[in-house]
Symmetry: C2
Amino acid sequence: MSILVVGSVALDSVETPFGKIEHALGGSATYFSIAASFFYHDIYLVGVVGTDFPKKHVDFLVSRGIDLDGLEQIEGGKTFRWGGSYVDDLNAAKTHFTDLNVFSDFQPKLPESYKNSPYVFLANINPELQINVLKQMTNPKLVVCDTMNLWIDISRPMLLETLRKVDILILNDAEARQLTGENNLTRAGKKILTFGPTRVIIKKGEHGAISLTESTFFSAPAYPLTAVVDPTGAGDSFAGGFMGSLVTLNGLSEQDIRRSIINGTVIASFNVEDFSLDRQRTLTPKEIDERFHQLEEIVRF
Amino acid sequence: MSILVVGSVALDSVETPFGKIEHALGGSATYFSIAASFFYHDIYLVGVVGTDFPKKHVDFLVSRGIDLDGLEQIEGGKTFRWGGSYVDDLNAAKTHFTDLNVFSDFQPKLPESYKNSPYVFLANINPELQINVLKQMTNPKLVVCDTMNLWIDISRPMLLETLRKVDILILNDAEARQLTGENNLTRAGKKILTFGPTRVIIKKGEHGAISLTESTFFSAPAYPLTAVVDPTGAGDSFAGGFMGSLVTLNGLSEQDIRRSIINGTVIASFNVEDFSLDRQRTLTPKEIDERFHQLEEIVRF
């Protein structure tokens, strides 16, 4: 009953009004795995790093129970590095540099033991690679996918082909509007359902998230934070918390989905309280539980 | 146990992607009163119109049980007229013209019978007039207030003086940010509480609303509409539904407030389904009730 995630493992340099970090642990697969590890313990990570990737980061991932057989290390290669800042708008990063390095030639190759994973998260990578991963899999039970403005822009046909094979698409409001040409998010969500996924989850930052199927509509609150220290990885933490929780609940009912969306919200809310994945290093199940119950209270009427 | 509202009564010309109307019934006090009338039947309207104000509009207000003793009609005067359009962004109107007419010299004078109203809504008018209204009142139990960017801009000291006398401030997200200089809405809300109100309700359009006191936080969902025909009056409809519901519940508990915010959300959602107040002409209690229960379902997890 493993969860397979394919995405980036990176070293991030980030500046926000609260400070800055350099070459800290980052990447979509990293944020996803760590978030999922708070709910579930069979997580397979597929990604690539260079020989410059610090051993302490590997140790941290291993300490959270994450299987790294799928993490390729390119001899003499350099790890994907991203630098950016959040100034006025904490929802939109300004990219300073993107050094893809070993990630530019990334061709995900699944270890044999990974191929029959029932749960798959295709993090935000080229849709061609996302399809490629699905082709290597035996018979996944649930395929969840993320994407970004870049692929909607330059790789729409391939992205649409991916979406036909996806059960749940998770994306943010701007991406949902861009993908569908619909300004109204409910309409955008409904249109995405015609592309293939049976469910779409649209993240709206400080406004929470909505989740639509043909017959259901869920509005999830955001956790009310008064200070966002570093928003990097919030989306992938949300997805990781969501899937980890979902697999633990071992069902796909609307109720399971909703409670898992709330768990995703909770992990994302902790993630942004500190730089990189630093908050997750001390995060406890009790803290997660408390915030879950606070969210129950926040929407009760 | 009457609700007193002071605000504009207007004739609106509005254009949206769905069509246009000319010189249709509008104005903050109008939208508020009609919305409140779906929950409560003792509503006193204070406003001003000219002799051009069609009798059919007066008849409509009277048919909803609204007391118009406080609606001054200026002999030979012209009613406040506003023209605007919503093009790309249904959250922001583009104003084409604002003919204040009789509204420019509006000095709210409360009939004797109005002065001991326990509930007051100060719609979006000059804060000087808002204070003036409060001075005429005996001992209001609950003062709710709206405002707008214009007054925050040009009349901040007077607005802050009004806020010291207000129990609940209702405003939208952009206004909350402008008033406080805080981008984070939770922080903005908390800062507003230091200005005087014991509660602030921040409306976020398609993202719902949040309501804060020193010790509580409520996140209300929006009703998921796939088509907004005309957003004019949504905020005042929300406020009217909120106060009408609150007075009917006859309490001020957090639970009463929350259920009333949802009722405000419901009325606002109907209001935007047609131009002017046309949707309210056929709206039934059963429809309101159904949408209330849909919102319960939408947030349940």
